[in-house]
C-alpha cells in the first residue's frame, strides 16, 4: 500500500489552503484527492464577485479566488489527483479512493485532512408536498447548469429560500432572460447579505415574500406548472386561507447546506448535532487522532476568506502532528450560551503552547447592541461591542497568548451575549 504523510480529501478552497500551509510547515509528502475534474470546489460555479475582500483586499469572483490558491499548489509541486473519489476513511488512517485511471486504491497516511465541503439540502429534507415533476432544482444545481454547462433550467422561476445562494441565483436567472416571479422565505428575515437583497432582488423588482412557504407543487405533462405559496404563522405553520398560486415552470430550492460527513462517520469521528460537522480541538483535530477537519465540512461558512484562514491553521497543525505526534492530554470545553448557537473549536488543549486561538461562532437570532463576551469559569476575559449580530454572519473572536495562558487554569470556556435586544 502506498504511504503518504498527509492525504487531503477534497480540492476546494479548504483543501488547497490546508495543503499549502502543511507544505510550508515542512511536511511536503502530501496528496490532494478531488472527485471533480478540476480543483477549486464550489468556487468554480460561483462566478459572481464578492470573494477575497478580507484575504486579498480586492473583490474577486469565485474562480479568480480559487485560481490564487491553485497557483500556490502548482508552484510547490504539491501532488493532486482529479477524478478521484474517496469512498472510505478508517481510524487507522487508511484512505480508499476510486478513479477511472487507477481503479480502487488505498493510501496509508500519517494524517488526514477532511475538506469535503457541503451539499445542499434537497426537497426531501424539507418535505414539500405536491407533484414529483421535472423543473425542481436545488439552487446550486441550477447555478452549475447555467454557469458551467451553459444550460437554462427554466423560464419562469420561483425561488424558495433567501440565503445568499438563492439571492445570487435570482439575479443570475434574470440575467439569462428568465422571469423570477418571487423569492419566498419562511422566516421573517433573510439570512442573506443586505447587499445581495439590494443588488440581486431590488435592482430587478423581484418580490421577496417573508414568512411565506411553498405548500404545493402542481404539474402538467410531468413539468412544474405552478407552485402554491402561503403565509406562515409565528410557529412557522402555513395559514391555508392565505394560499395563492404562482404560475411557473421552475422551482429553485435554496434551503440550507449540509456538511458532507459520511467519511468522517466511517472513521468513527464524533460529530456535533448542532454544526453537523466534526467536534474538533483548537488544532482542528477531530476525536480520531490524526484526522483533521476544516472548511464547510466542519461548519457552514458564509465567507470563503474564513475558510482559507481556518484551513491554513488546520494544515499547519496537521504538519506539526506528523512531525511531533500527539501533544494533548487534557481539554477545556467551549460552549455557546444566551443566543450563541455554537462555538468551533468545541474544545481547547490545556497544554496548547500557541500564540492565539480563533473561536468561530454563530448566533441563533439577530440581536442589536450586544456585547459578545468570552467567560472563563464565569469570569469575563474578553468582550466586544457589536451594533448587530445575525445568524447569517459568522463571528470570530481571537484570543491572544495572554488569554490562552489563562485558559490553561480554567475548566470551562463560554461564549455568550450580554445586554442584547432581540431585533
Amino acid at each position: 500500500m502506498r504511504k503518504c504523510d498527509i492525504v487531503v480529501v477534497g480540492g476546494g478552497p479548504a483543501g488547497l489552503a490546508a495543503a499549502v500551509s502543511a507544505f510550508e510547515a515542512g511536511t511536503k509528502d502530501i496528496v490532494i484527492l478531488e472527485r471533480e475534474e478540476r480543483l477549486g470546489g464550489i468556487l468554480n460555479q460561483c462566478i459572481h464577485n464578492g470573494f477575497g475582500l478580507h484575504t486579498f483586499k480586492e473583490e474577486l469572483t469565485g474562480p479568480e479566488y480559487a485560481d490564487r490558491f491553485e497557483q500556490l499548489v502548482y508552484q510547490r509541486g504539491i501532488e493532486y489527483k482529479l477524478g478521484s473519489t474517496v469512498i472510505n476513511v478508517t481510524a487507522d488512517k487508511t484512505v480508499t479512493y476510486v478513479s477511472e485511471q487507477e481503479g480502487l486504491q488505498k493510501i496509508s497516511a500519517k494524517a488526514i485532512i477532511l475538506t469535503c465541503g457541503c451539499r445542499e439540502r434537497p426537497r426531501g429534507g424539507i418535505n414539500i408536498a405536491g407533484a414529483r415533476a421535472a423543473g425542481i432544482f436545488s439552487a446550486g444545481t441550477a447555478q452549475k447548469l447555467v454557469n458551467i454547462d451553459g444550460l437554462m433550467p427554466g423560464k419562469e422561476v420561483v425561488i424558495l429560500g433567501s440565503g445568499d445562494i438563492g439571492l445570487i441565483m435570482a439575479r443570475r436567472m434574470t440575467f439569462e432572460g428568465a422571469k423570477v416571479k418571487a423569492v419566498v422565505e419562511l422566516m421573517p428575515y433573510s439570512s442573506g447579505l443586505n447587499r445581495n437583497i439590494v443588488q440581486c432582488l431590488n435592482d430587478f423588482d423581484i418580490p421577496l415574500m417573508f414568512s411565506h412557504t411553498v405548500v404545493d407543487i402542481k404539474a402538467t405533462n410531468g413539468r412544474v406548472s405552478s407552485v402554491v405559496i402561503a403565509q406562515v404563522d409565528d410557529k412557522l405553520q402555513p395559514i391555508m386561507s392565505t394560499a395563492q398560486e404562482i404560475a411557473c415552470d421552475t422551482l429553485l430550492l435554496s434551503v440550507g447546506l449540509l456538511p458532507e460527513n459520511e467519511l468522517a462517520g466511517y472513521a468513527g469521528v464524533e460529530l456535533s448535532p448542532v454544526t453537523n460537522g466534526a467536534v474538533v480541538d483548537d488544532q482542528m483535530m477531530t476525536s480520531v487522532e490524526g484526522i483533521f477537519e476544516c472548511g464547510n465540512v466542519l461548519h457552514v461558512h458564509d465567507l470563503v476568506d474564513y475558510v482559507s484562514e481556518e484551513s491554513s491553521h488546520a494544515g499547519k497543525c496537521a504538519a506539526n502532528y506528523v512531525q511531533n505526534g500527539m501533544s494533548a492530554t487534557q481539554y477545556v470545553p467551549t460552549c455557546g450560551t444566551n443566543g450563541v448557537r455554537y462555538v468551533v473549536p468545541q474544545k481547547i488543549r490545556k497544554d496548547a503552547n500557541v500564540e492565539k486561538i480563533s473561536l468561530r461562532m454563530r448566533v441563533a437570532n439577530a440581536f442589536k447592541n450586544v456585547e459578545l463576551a468570552v467567560l472563563l469559569d464565569g469570569e469575563k476575559i474578553f468582550s466586544r461591542k457589536r451594533p448587530i449580530v445575525t445568524p447569517g454572519e459568522m463571528e470570530t473572536v481571537v484570543l491572544g497568548s495572554e488569554l490562552v495562558a489563562r485558559i490553561k487554569q480554567g475548566s470551562k470556556l463560554e461564549v455568550t451575549l450580554l445586554k442584547g435586544e432581540e431585533k
Binding site: I47, L60, I197
Partner: protein, 119 residues
C-alpha cells in the same frame, strides 16, 4: 423622497433621501456616515459589477466566466449583458484577457475570470 437599504453592514439601515435640491441632498435614517455616502452615490451615479459567462471553443470547458473590469452604470446592465451574449472566446484564455472591449461605450472592458486551456 427616495428610499434605499444601506448595504455597508448587516444593520441594513432604511435610508430616505431628499434630492429636491441637487446641491444639497439630504439623507436620513443612516446610523453612520457610510450610509450617507452610499445613498448619495445611489441617487447620483449608481454602478454595478456585471458577471456572466461566454461559450469557449477548443477547450475542455464549455463556458468561461467573465466580469466587467470595473462597475458600470446600473442602467447599462442589460445592454452590457446583450453584448456579452454575442461574445465568444477561443482557448487558450487567461484570467484578465479582454473578451469584450469598451462594453456599451463605457470605456470598461469585459474580462475573463477563469483560465481555459487549449486542448
Amino acid at each position: 423622497m427616495k428610499k434605499f437599504i444601506c448595504i455597508n453592514c448587516p444593520l441594513g439601515c432604511h435610508l430616505e433621501v431628499d434630492d429636491s435640491d441637487p446641491n444639497d441632498i439630504k439623507v436620513s435614517g443612516n446610523t453612520c456616515p457610510r450610509g450617507k455616502i452610499y445613498a448619495i452615490n445611489e441617487i447620483t451615479a449608481p454602478k454595478r459589477m456585471v458577471t456572466s459567462s461566454v461559450p469557449v471553443s477548443r477547450s475542455d470547458l464549455l463556458r468561461v466566466s467573465v466580469k466587467t473590469s470595473q462597475p458600470i452604470p446600473k442602467d447599462k446592465i442589460f445592454d452590457c449583458l446583450n453584448e456579452i451574449k454575442k461574445a465568444h472566446a477561443e482557448a487558450p484564455v487567461a484570467i484578465g484577457d479582454v473578451i469584450v472591449s469598451n462594453v456599451c461605450g463605457t470605456g470598461i472592458d469585459v474580462v475573463a475570470t477563469r483560465n481555459a486551456h487549449k486542448i
